[in-house]
């Protein structure tokens, strides 16, 4: 365990960012999101949740796959270079890290998504314990411990100090590189901070959410429930919940015409949108009820069906905080529990 005074963090950031890009929560125009560090950046490690999850550091909202150029009657294809530079993500919360492990199941299984893999391989992730969880958090319901990050490095902010220790080879390398800035720390400081966090977690209203009615093999029981018809009604079909979610993984592939050039790119898609999975014959989900149902069934039933019971939600609570109609996965889970 190593520690550094909080007022020396700036030095640490400057040092890391000299060698590789550094991404961390930054405030810009009244919103806090993961962004690239520079001297002017207003770093906000004190905030619990960034508006957007950090998933777009690995799976950007839109990214070019390749482009085609036509010249003199010939078409040439320009492949898109992979992200091959190392980078550091600093201050990721453990729910968001757990979400990456969910995305891994999708993008790193055959056929491997090379764009995603390149970013995963090149990233060193520093997970930061949540000193003050919020009422919308329910990571514990999925067995995620917000007091002990599972990234390459686990970190804590306790009083005047920032503590960290490495969990992986990549983590060890980062600690070695920056060792001159740190001093040795007492393991016991961190242990008591962890106990404190776990005490708070025990008091948070959604942490004890019970998922026993969900998971593998529940399709028949849930799919035709009349509850969906009631639950979806206030939904605006905006897709905010899918775009702020760290585990939502659907994308669309589109072409962008730029004169003589065509850029093929992919961008996040949302099951809440009317043209989601649109095919030549039309769409297989024709009502907003069906689209709404898809989102929650995917997270709580279909994904577990295909991934040994793992849910595609980590309880980050962003959909709870951000849905303009105040709907969310918790309300869905509870409504079904009430019925059962």
């Amino acid at each position: 365990m190593k520690k550094i005074n909080l007022n020396k963090l700036k030095e640490l950031f400057a040092y890391i960012s000299e060698k590789s890009s550094l991404f961390l929560p930054i405030e810009s125009a009244n919103s806090i999101n993961f962004g690239m560090y520079d001297e002017k950046a207003k770093v906000r490690l004190d905030v619990l949740k960034t508006s957007k999850s950090p998933k777009d550091l690995f799976f950007p909202q839109s990214e070019t796959l390749y482009s085609c150029q036509s010249a003199k009657g010939k078409i040439s294809i320009e492949p898109q270079a992979l992200q091959n530079d190392e980078f550091v993500v600093f201050g990721m919360k453990n729910c968001d890290f757990a979400a990456l492990e969910i995305l891994d199941k999708v993008f790193l299984s055959e056929p491997v998504d090379t764009f995603y893999k390149a970013r995963r391989d090149n990233a060193t992730i520093v997970t930061l314990a949540c000193a003050r969880p919020s009422e919308s958090c329910f990571c514990k319901a999925y067995g995620i411990d917000c007091a002990q990050g599972a990234g390459d490095v686990s970190a804590w902010i306790i009083g005047e100090y920032f503590y960290w220790c490495a969990n992986t080879q990549k983590g060890v390398a980062l600690l070695e590189k920056t060792a001159h800035l740190f001093e040795d720390a007492d393991e016991a400081d961190v242990e008591s901070a962890k106990a404190q966090i776990r005490d708070i977690v025990a008091k948070m209203p959604l942490m004890s959410l019970d998922l026993k009615n969900w998971g593998k093999g529940k399709t028949a029981e849930k799919f035709d429930s009349p509850l969906w018809d009631e639950l979806y009604k206030p939904c605006l079909a905006c897709g905010t919940c899918t775009f702020v979610c760290p585990t939502c993984q659907c994308y669309d592939i589109k072409d962008y015409k730029a004169g003589e050039k065509v850029v093929r790119y992919r961008c996040w898609d949302s099951c809440m949108y009317s043209d989601f999975t649109m095919m030549a014959h039309g769409n297989n989900r024709t009502s907003q009820m069906q689209r709404f149902r898809q989102r929650f069934m995917h997270k709580l039933v279909y994904f577990p069906d295909n991934n040994d019971g793992v849910f595609s939600c980590t309880g980050c609570g962003r959909c709870v905080d951000k849905c303009p109609a105040s709907l969310n996965i918790v309300k869905v889970i509870k409504a079904f529990d009430k019925e059962a």
């Binding site: 999101n33 959604l206 905006c238």
Partner: protein
């Protein structure tokens, strides 16, 4: 609130209307949601308090597709949107029984949380019809107090007025909430150089994730199929492929709602990235007022909109 609930119950029992469109309580006291109440039993969960910011008028489009009449609760500002939807023939008057509900301003949960208040388990004092001005907020980290009037949404600090523009009956008193001039910030932006303006909006819009919450919450955005959703046009976008598209979406939307936007403030209220979208619309409102005389979209159903009617006295481009 009980009076309002009782009245809705009575109207449903007397078969004046078959259902009600109101708000339902949430998990933490601040996350009330819009809801259809199909039977009087369901009214147990009905709430009307400072956290009922959602403007229900757009849900009337859905309600009109249903059998019979729907009771709809509208705050003063919501009635402008309702009128505007009527004017655009998106809803039918006879399908609605409008209860104009009194308003002492709606609350901004992000403003409350910006005071470092986290871990909220309960909020007392958000009642709409009480004259108390104190929110008592219980959190896992300790209790807080905050003046109701310090936690209002921006739109309520420059409320258009507490008169309901359309209603069948009114329940509850309203209270004045105005503490700022509606066009003050617009005037400030007008003073900037064009480069500064561009910088300001670029900064704000670069946060946009194209989640469409602003568009979908907006009562003026009521097209059956939005041009940005249609795969029949090149304009279909699920994401901003570049910063040009990011601005284009918002600028087109602002132009499309110009003269129809009632300044209900829903776009800014729902934006997950805190983008002050109302600034675009207010600039148009201010300019329309200047060029064509005072006009307030949705204040009635009859008046022509200056942008969709022509008169010989209309302002000419370049001659203002």
């Amino acid at each position: 609130m009980q009076e309002l609930k009782n009245r809705i119950k009575q109207l449903m029992e007397e078969n004046v209307a078959q259902r009600a469109l109101g708000w339902k309580k949430g998990e933490f006291g601040y996350d009330a949601q819009a809801a259809f109440f199909e039977s009087t039993d369901e009214l147990d969960d009905f709430v009307y308090n400072g956290f009922c910011g959602a403007n229900l008028s757009k849900y009337m489009i859905e309600a009109c597709k249903k059998e019979g009449r729907t009771i709809i609760c509208l705050k003063p500002c919501d009635t402008y949107s309702f009128n505007q939807l009527l004017k655009e023939h998106r809803i039918q008057r006879e399908k609605a029984y409008i209860i104009g509900v009194g308003c002492k301003g709606t609350l901004d949960i992000s403003k409350i949380k910006a005071n470092g208040i986290e871990g909220i388990v309960d909020i007392e004092g958000a009642d709409m019809f009480s004259s108390e001005n104190l929110l008592k907020i219980k959190t896992v980290y300790g209790d807080h107090e905050l003046a109701y009037s310090d936690a209002l949404l921006e739109r309520c600090n420059c409320c258009k007025g507490k008169e309901h523009m359309i209603f069948d009956e009114i329940i509850g008193e309203s209270a004045d909430t105005v503490s700022a001039d509606r066009f003050e910030q617009i005037e400030k932006i007008e003073q900037l150089t064009s480069i500064e303006k561009f910088e300001f909006f670029r900064n704000e819009l670069s946060k946009c994730i194209r989640c469409n919450a602003c568009r979908n919450a907006c009562p003026a955005c009521n097209c059956r199929k939005c041009v940005f959703d249609s795969d029949k046009f090149d304009s279909a976008q699920k994401a901003n492929s570049d910063s040009f598209e990011e601005k284009m979406f918002h600028i087109i939307r602002a132009f499309h709602v110009a003269g129809r936007c009632t300044d209900c403030g829903e776009c800014s209220r729902v934006c997950p990235q805190n983008i002050p979208l109302h600034l675009f619309n207010r600039k148009f409102i201010k300019d329309i007022n200047m060029l064509y005389g005072d006009f307030s979209a949705g204040s009635n159903c009859e008046e022509n909109c200056p942008l969709t009617s022509y008169s010989f006295d209309d302002a000419e481009p370049g001659k203002i």
